[in-house]
């Protein structure tokens, strides 16, 4: 176990070091700056609006918008980093060097998961910090510290869970991992999570993250929608249960992924 962790950390560090090109760093920066830029434009637009949008309306919507935007950015980053865990090695022909080492396959799986999680979470933290600063300085909400901490915790869990799922999809569907990951998000977190009043939506990752957000942030959605929300999603559980479920999903996907990568035949392109 110690050896697996040691190798995974070595892989993660090597992966981050060797793939931090100008292009990748630029993409990461663009992703991190996208939510605060959108938020800034929204606030600026409201300021100069002729109809006079009040700051209370902005205060109502900005937390939701922040979460949605950073959520999109984190998903995109995870899809870019986590899903090509096997395909990038096979296409880059480096798979044979890794697979010919004891535990090399499992190390690459965990190592790339760690790398995708680290990079995506770093993007989230930068984005959360800039958004929090913007909201607090422009709208004077007064609870910037709590907002930052809550979002950091929520996106830590989000990156962990989605990172695990996307890594598993990368191992199972080598050629179409990104398509399957986008498909998973659409089916599970948009369609399934929006089915009202039935058990099905509780199987989505979004449901658990939403419930944790509501516990940690308080009611952050527009005030008029509280009743409707409970009709769709029912009453939530304590945050610890949702956290345990998300960590459980992560552990399950990681174990399944590690088992699959260790037991599957991967045909290299020069062999086929």
């Amino acid at each position: 176990m110690g050896s697996i962790l040691q190798n995974a950390i070595a892989t993660c560090l090597f992966e981050i070091r060797s793939s931090f090109t100008i292009q990748r760093t630029s993409v990461s920066l663009v992703l991190a700056l996208f939510p605060p830029t959108m938020l800034g434009l929204l606030i600026l637009g409201a300021r100069f609006s002729r109809s006079g949008i009040s700051s209370s309306i902005l205060q109502d919507f900005t937390p939701l918008l922040t979460i949605v935007l950073i959520g999109l950015v984190s998903l995109l980053s995870l899809i870019l980093w986590a899903t090509p865990n096997v395909s990038a090695e096979l296409e880059g022909k480096s798979w044979v060097f890794i697979a010919s080492r004891p535990g090399g396959r499992i190390s690459i799986f965990f190592g790339k998961f760690l790398a995708s999680f680290s990079v995506s979470y770093a993007i989230c933290i930068l984005s959360i910090s800039l958004c929090t600063f913007l909201i607090d300085s422009q709208l004077h909400t007064g609870d910037a510290g709590r907002f930052w901490l809550s979002l950091s915790g929520i996106f830590f869990l989000a990156c962990l869970t989605y990172g695990g799922i996307f890594s598993l999809l990368g191992v199972l569907f080598i050629k179409r991992a990104m398509t399957f990951s986008v498909g998973f998000v659409i089916v599970s977190d948009i369609i399934m999570a929006s089915v009202p009043g039935v058990l099905m939506n509780k199987f989505s990752i979004r449901y658990h993250l939403q419930e944790i957000s509501l516990t940690w942030l308080g009611w952050f959605l527009p005030s008029s929608s509280e009743e409707g929300y409970r009709v769709i999603f029912g009453d939530g559980y304590p945050a610890t249960i949702h956290i345990c479920i998300l960590i459980g999903i992560t552990l399950f996907t990681l174990c399944l992924g590690a088992w699959a990568i260790a037991n599957r035949e991967y045909i290299t392109t020069y062999e086929a």
Binding site: S18, A262, Y270
Partner: protein, 314 residues
């Protein structure tokens, strides 16, 4: 060391290797075959990266499929290129050694030793994108031997090397073989492998066509038609002299200065040519083999295999 019993590997409806039976004791082996003959598939079966469709594979007495700990005893230098342009040679080899279960400091020490051994210590802190093909080849050898394996497997190690690099690679392989450690050298060029003096495994179309010592393989080659093109100032005189002194099967004037010969006794031909040049003052500006001798050998072995030729060599 390695045992394959009726091993067949199918990629859907394509045959990778076909019904191979082998029992290799520790030693030096040259795995020879044309491109696409199944050498890499055979290596991957031995390494446990592929599961045989039919039959079994044993490495050091254990089934290598899923026994990844066995890989600690093996060093692999694949034919594929290294694709980490930003990483330095030292960073990459250290990482490769770490994946064998060594801690960072230990791995870095081993990486430095092996890079020094392959003559790359002067460039080990440079990004690999600045390496020449020969340097990348050395780095690949470095990662394969850094953990001191019992069996070293090299897939086309001479690819892209210049003559000096080839000579150095041969010298290194001879040193390795002299240590009594296992060595499997896969190649499609006979004379490069022959320099290491291994036992040969001849594979083509996924089948093991023949195996044996260099003398046995030479014996088969002796009966193999050999084609040679010569460029000379006086092709007609050269042709006449060669027909007089050698067992020439056929000849063809391909241009005003070029002749294409076919002979079954290449060694006799190479013995006679210097004598002709010396005695008759004929200028020969170029001699080149028009067919890869190994390809000819394999086509002959395939014919033997199908029963189209009488078996003489083996």
């Amino acid at each position: 060391m390695i045992e394959l019993k009726n091993t067949t590997k199918l990629y859907k409806d394509v045959i990778g290797v076909n019904d191979i039976c082998l029992n290799l004791q520790a030693g030096t082996y040259g795995l020879l075959g044309p491109n696409g003959s199944g050498k890499t598939t055979l290596i991957n079966l031995i390494l446990g990266q592929l599961k045989p469709t039919i039959g079994s594979v044993t490495l050091f007495g254990v089934n290598p499929w899923k026994k990844s700990k066995l890989l600690r005893r093996i060093g692999l230098c694949p034919s594929v290129e290294i694709n980490y342009p930003r990483a330095t040679g030292l960073e990459w080899v250290t990482y490769m050694v770490q994946l064998h279960g060594f801690r960072f400091m230990q791995a870095q020490k081993k990486a430095k030793e092996s890079l020094d051994f392959v003559g790359l210590s002067h460039a080990m802190n440079r990004p690999m994108r600045n390496y020449s093909l020969g340097m990348r080849q050395r780095a690949k050898i470095g990662q394969a031997i850094a953990h001191n394996p019992d069996l070293l497997i090299l897939d086309e190690p001479f690819n892209g090397l210049d003559p000096i690099g080839r000579h150095e690679m041969s010298a290194f392989l001879k040193t390795w073989a002299s240590q009594g450690k296992g060595l499997i050298l896969a190649s499609h060029i006979l004379h490069e492998v022959e320099a290491i003096n291994p036992s040969f495994l001849l594979i083509s179309g996924g089948r093991l066509l023949a195996s044996g010592s260099p003398a046995e393989v030479r014996n088969i080659l002796a009966d193999t038609p050999y084609e040679l093109t010569m460029r000379t100032s006086n092709p007609k005189q050269l042709a006449t002299l060669l027909i007089e002194h050698c067992d020439i099967e056929s000849l063809k004037f391909t241009s005003k200065t070029e002749i294409l010969f076919s002979t079954r006794s290449a060694s006799q031909l190479f013995k006679v040519i210097p004598e002709i040049i010396q005695q008759h003052k004929i200028t020969i500006t170029e001699i080149r083999s028009t067919d890869d001798s190994l390809n000819t050998l394999f086509s002959m072995l395939m014919k033997l295999h199908r029963g189209e030729l009488m078996q003489r060599g083996l």
